[in-house]
């Protein structure tokens, strides 16, 4: 199946308009694969025919389906392992001390795809019940894709998905068989909530997140949109919170609001200027309310 340059440009424009993501050259080769099952389901024989339907605006819901199909939703449980070890070894013990009075933690998985990252986070807490007894743990997963958020919320994974990244003992402890595969047990689902959200928009409620994970998401954005996303992420964080990016991603040259945590490679903190800005904006908000 061939796709013309003009059709590719239309698809790229649609994706960027809806999500901010760019259809980079490295992702263009997979357009046909990504859209093939959608074409089959809708009885559309060529990509150019699909583009014609999109351009004519006959089926508004189709454009959202195309966008969802073009997104890269690759994820699995405890992806790359090391970041989760870092949270468990460094960030969570420190937060356990700092938030000992409020006993409340807020974590945001930005660009959570089908939710495996959020369930992995929930397992970190569930596997140390004594340590976190009496705490309110709020783990928010967001994604620009409605289909992904619905899947994440269901907590149900196919046999293929559930074993990607999980040891077998972990899998049978935290998942139970269901008609479509395996579903996370209620205890694991309890601290989780999910919502559709675009990183370029205002951060989700309630803000003040202690840890924000945004791994392998920003790499699909243009430099300008990446900078805007960093602004949004920084604005969502608690003053002493952390941002975690994917391996190979960095804030350097893209924002002045965040800097590397010298004690933990891969974690980023608000820099002092950012803190001042945040405190100032908090004061502005307070005086506006007053």
């Amino acid at each position: 199946m061939q796709i013309s340059d003009s059709s590719t440009r239309i698809l790229a424009g649609l994706l960027e308009a809806r999500t901010g993501q760019q259809l980079t050259m490295s992702r263009r080769w997979r357009i046909e694969t990504a859209l093939s099952s959608l074409l089959r389901e809708r009885g559309i024989s060529t990509l150019d025919e699909l583009i014609t339907i999109l351009v004519m605006g006959k089926e508004p819901s189709l454009s959202q389906m195309v966008v969802e199909a073009l997104l890269n939703n690759e994820t699995y449980f405890f992806r790359d392992r090391a970041p989760f070890d870092l949270l468990q070894r460094y960030a969570l013990p420190e937060l356990a001390q700092r938030r000992a009075r409020s006993k409340r933690l807020r974590i945001w998985s930005a660009g959570c795809s089908t939710g495996q990252e959020t369930y992995s986070l929930a397992m970190l807490f569930a596997e140390e019940p004594e340590k976190w007894r009496g705490w309110t743990i709020d783990i928010l997963g967001t994604d620009v894709s409605t289909a992904c958020v619905d899947r994440a919320r269901s907590g149900a994974y196919s046999q293929f998905e559930v074993q990607r990244g999980l040891g077998i003992n972990q899998m049978i402890k935290w998942f139970e068989e269901c008609p479509d595969g395996w579903r996370a047990v209620e205890e694991l689902r309890r601290p989780l909530r999910f919502q559709v959200h675009n990183l370029l928009e205002q951060p989700p409620h309630p803000g003040g997140f202690d840890i924000v994970l945004c791994r392998n998401v920003l790499l699909y954005l243009s430099p300008e949109k990446k900078t805007l996303s960093f602004e949004r992420l920084a604005a969502s964080m608690a003053e002493d919170g952390w941002l975690m990016l994917g391996a190979g991603e960095t804030v350097i040259g893209q924002t002045t609001r965040l800097g590397a945590d010298i004690n933990a490679r891969g974690l980023y903190r608000l820099v002092s200027g950012g803190q001042v800005e945040k405190r100032q904006s908090d004061r502005r908000a307070t005086s506006a309310r007053a």
Partner: protein, 121 residues
Amino acid sequence: MKSCLIVDDSKVIRKVARHILETLEFEVEEAGDGQEALSRCEAKMPDVVLLDWNMPVMSGMEFLRLLRQRGHADQPKVVFCTTENDMAHIRAALEAGADEYVMKPFDRETLHIKLQLVGVA
């Protein structure tokens, strides 16, 4: 270089698993059933066994029980790799001494992580 014995009566599965394991820099041996696998283990104990459940001559479960009964000091890690994908089979395999469990179909990433979890990759 770590060694892996693939025990499966399907040539296709052995071929796919061999390809993945070789890209993970394993030295690979193959056996078509549990009996042949036991003989290979007697000759040279691998670091890990990738084990199917249903096979002619001797099943994976029978092989695993006999292997664990023999109590060799250099017991290999055993990763079941099977289409028997329900909780009852998984629990039975773990009780018999399996270290990990892969449900077919699987991909390179899944197998790699499972091998990391048992400490051989």
